[in-house]
Subunit: 360 residues, 2 copies
């Protein structure tokens, strides 16, 4: 290729700086071994000649790729909620760049294919570690990575392990229970007394945790809780059907707190159909929530990305730490979400408009 | 590290297969040089020992990384429309995996930082080529990549170049004019006669092209076109304001075709405020359009991803082709979008519900 003609070599740099090739190599790999004055001369020559130590050669030497692997699914898992993982990927790419780290995407169809991909990417020194997302109960990927001593951090707890503080598990997550508690207390502050929870069917680690936040804050008797807690697939139409049933019951709830924006959208649709205006809160603060004027619990994705990198490489490092015991402090972080209030909140009281939507 | 202990080497494979190291190397790199019978024996040993040629060593030998670079911005550029590029990234990762190619993400703050990143990623053989997105008029990245003879394909035309069929430019795009033409003809089939176009301010390559589709199909006199074509920033509130002005004018339009779903959402908001039910069509078929029941023009992202890879590596290849002249056929593809009809279309006539939304 034309562009590789005349690429400067380490010998060119050595000649220009009047030092040995070994000294150039030391300046690049072990600068502490080189006298400052010599180092400056070599660095000047590197700069002048635009010499780039070949990344692959460096990888062979150091077995470091300065790259982190993360799986990307063929399509966003869910049109509405999928944007959270996309948002995380954007934040991760930016934060990693600040540490000189790049993100490698791989595809994998199923768990076994993903384990094979882990193996290959590590064996071939393509990546130094992984970020695992969408963790499930008893996630085989996590137990396998721990067993193989392959560095990783999960965005999402290692659901189902006996001890989540076990240092072999490095994880970052957002406190879903706290988020739903905030949502429940918010609709209570608007006057709601009988707050329903619209979540997913069990078992779902994330879903159960979010439901827990409602259980802790709804202030209802256990029998009433059983009536006002529903679990449906993460689709607006499913949620609309379940919410319609609650609304048409003899004792309808007076607010809806939901495990996702898809579910919240469904709740809103059921309310609109009946001409009712009751508070609805979603989760994940997706563009749909913003567009629909729905309040929603927001995950701090940039902070999640930063915490993931800290648990992988230390507070400021650019090198993946293989042994979690070499990290200072806990090997996990539970971050707090925020409630974004729209529409039915305080400001809506002033700005709210009465309009009729024939299409909704 | 524990995991590298006992990793089989090329010598282990040679010994197990009773051949020289050179023969093993030939089987891996130049299999055509090796007799089939010997090749099978070596491949058996590679399989049995789980030998993996070290990727970095292979990169040094071949100067190939089997990796393609693409920039990812800190956050999705636009909450609603940004999901198109995210959707493309998902499709690209999957399609690339089918060819044994991985996607490397990098961040860059501004054009100069991106050019530096191109340089570094190529010089260090981190990637074999690039996919460039969000192309602009006179895009400096594109002229630079062409000048440096660095392989790339853009998703988006090289707006502003004299000859878009010039083989040095490899690009894939979706025919935005055709999409807006379909949208305009759709609302006309519903009875609309005075279709307005809500686009962005000039100059925007994509925006002008989409407007062109409306110009070709709206059937209005030039003075009337000037009245019914508006250009605003890509935000629902901006579009709502502009559409409200048109609706409150002495001769309001009877349908709205929009350059994005954000704009379509704004148009819908302005209509709902006035209790009007006129057809609105968006562009990009984002989750917001689906959630709001808005018709929208959809880009075939999986086909775009496949076409990008074909222009980079040939119809089935897994190796980036440096010289576009070595590709058979044209070096660009203009793909056709689809119109996704919702709500005000035929099915809405049957399913449409009259409901009142106090919150919208």
């Amino acid at each position: 290729m034309a562009r590789s003609t005349g690429t400067p070599t380490i010998s060119d740099v050595a000649k220009a700086a009047r030092v040995s090739r070994q000294t150039v190599s030391n300046v690049i790999n072990r600068p502490d071994l080189v006298r400052p004055e010599t180092r400056r001369r070599v660095e000047g020559a590197i700069e002048r000649l635009r010499y780039r130590p070949h990344a692959s050669a460096r990888r062979l030497r150091t077995r470091r790729s300065s790259t982190i692997g993360i799986r990307l699914d063929p399509v966003s898992a869910n049109g509405i909620s999928g944007s959270v993982l996309d948002g995380f990927l954007h934040a991760l790419t930016e934060r990693a760049a600040e540490r000189g780290i790049r993100i490698l995407l791989y595809a994998a169809n199923g768990i076994d294919a993903e384990l094979a991909e882990f193996r290959r990417l590590i064996d071939e020194s393509e990546v130094d570690g992984f970020v695992v997302t969408s963790t499930t109960y008893g996630d085989r990927r996590i137990s396998w990575l721990v067993e193989q001593r392959i560095p990783f951090v999960s965005f999402g707890r290692p659901w189902g392990v006996a001890d989540m503080t076990d240092r072999r598990y490095r994880w970052v997550d957002v406190d879903g229970a706290a988020g739903v508690r905030m949502a429940t207390e918010h609709v209570q502050s608007l006057g709601a007394r009988e707050v329903a929870f619209v979540g997913w069917p069990s078992p779902s680690g994330i879903g159960e945790e979010r439901r827990q936040g409602w259980i802790e804050s709804c202030g209802l008797a256990p029998e009433r809780m059983a009536e006002l807690s529903v679990g449906v697939a993460d689709e607006a139409t499913e949620a609309a059907r379940a919410v319609a049933e609650l609304l048409d019951s003899s004792r309808p709830p007076d607010a809806f707190v939901c495990a996702s924006d898809s579910l919240a959208l469904g709740a809103r649709m059921a309310l609109v159909e009946r001409g009712l205006e009751l508070p609805v809160v979603g989760f994940d603060d997706t563009p749909v929530a913003a567009a629909m004027g729905l309040s929603s619990v927001s995950q701090p994705l940039s902070d999640v990305a930063e915490a993931v990198l800290e648990l992988l490489m230390g507070p400021d490092g650019g090198v993946v730490i293989d042994d979690p015991d070499r990290l200072a402090g806990p090997t996990h972080r539970l971050l707090q979400p925020e409630l974004v209030v729209r529409g039915e909140g305080a400001s809506a009281r002033e700005e709210g408009k009465e309009t009729c939507d024939e299409d909704a």
